[in-house]
Amino acid sequence: MIGNDLVDLKLAAKQSNWQRKGFLDKLFTPDEQGYILNSDNPFETVWLLWSMKESAYKAYLQTHNERFFAPKKLECNLISKNRGTVLINNVLFVTESEIGEAFIYTVAFTKNHENKFLTDCFRFEHLDFKNQQSQTYHKVLTAFANQLKFPVAQLKIEKNNQGVPQLFWGEMLLENSFSLTHHGNFGAFTIAF
């Protein structure tokens, strides 16, 4: 399974105040709060850990059909600045993150997908939510069309009852694991092989 999550740092600074009372306690374990408070850039570390949690959770949901909001049950461990793991109910995900000036982007995958995925990040011209979603869908469908050698017009994405996007060829559900994310000016997709 594979998941991804992108945080537009400028927008995150506007949307959330990580120093708000209770914020860190509700989202992060004591170990994770240690990473944040001992970091040279606590703001960046907050969003790095958050993107690790979100990306792993999105991968986890593909095989566990029940949503929950329990950020502290998604336990992060940093191996290096760009690489870590997230443990969710005994399922382990490896994470690889790109930490830039403008955004942080993480891909989380189960061990069997190590080095076996395609990912792409892009910048949007417009901030409209629905428009961004349709652009992201179009990008991932084009990538699947190239990979599977199907005409793009025969492929579609629909969300299941848990909000997890799934790939269809005509009416047939394909099992390919993939993940989509967009926030602020940026979007990304990832596809597992």
Binding site: S16, L27, E54, R67, F69
Partner: protein, 84 residues
């Protein structure tokens, strides 16, 4: 507190975080914070902190885990208020 009053108070709390105006206008007990209102998942914690402040309650981790819909939020608020 009556349900209508609670829903009105909750609507005021979530307003700054929603990204789907239409779903917000049609908010009901069945509304999902993330799927319908498109609230950013990092902002869900702000909704929970605001609920704690507004009603002077503590939303424990177990309750928070289920707080994905208006219905679940109302149940949690009602339970916590009755325990006071």
């Amino acid at each position: 507190m009556e349900k209508e009053v609670l829903i009105t108070a909750l609507k005021k709390i979530v307003k700054p975080y929603i990204q789907d105006e239409e779903a917000f206008e049609n908010l009901s007990e069945n509304t999902d914070f993330i799927k319908d209102l498109k609230i950013n998942s990092a902002n869900l914690v702000d909704v929970i902190l605001d609920v704690e402040d507004e009603f002077d309650i503590i939303v424990d981790n177990e309750s928070m885990e289920k707080m994905l819909t208006v219905k679940a939020a109302l149940e949690i608020i009602e339970t916590k208020l009755s325990e006071k």
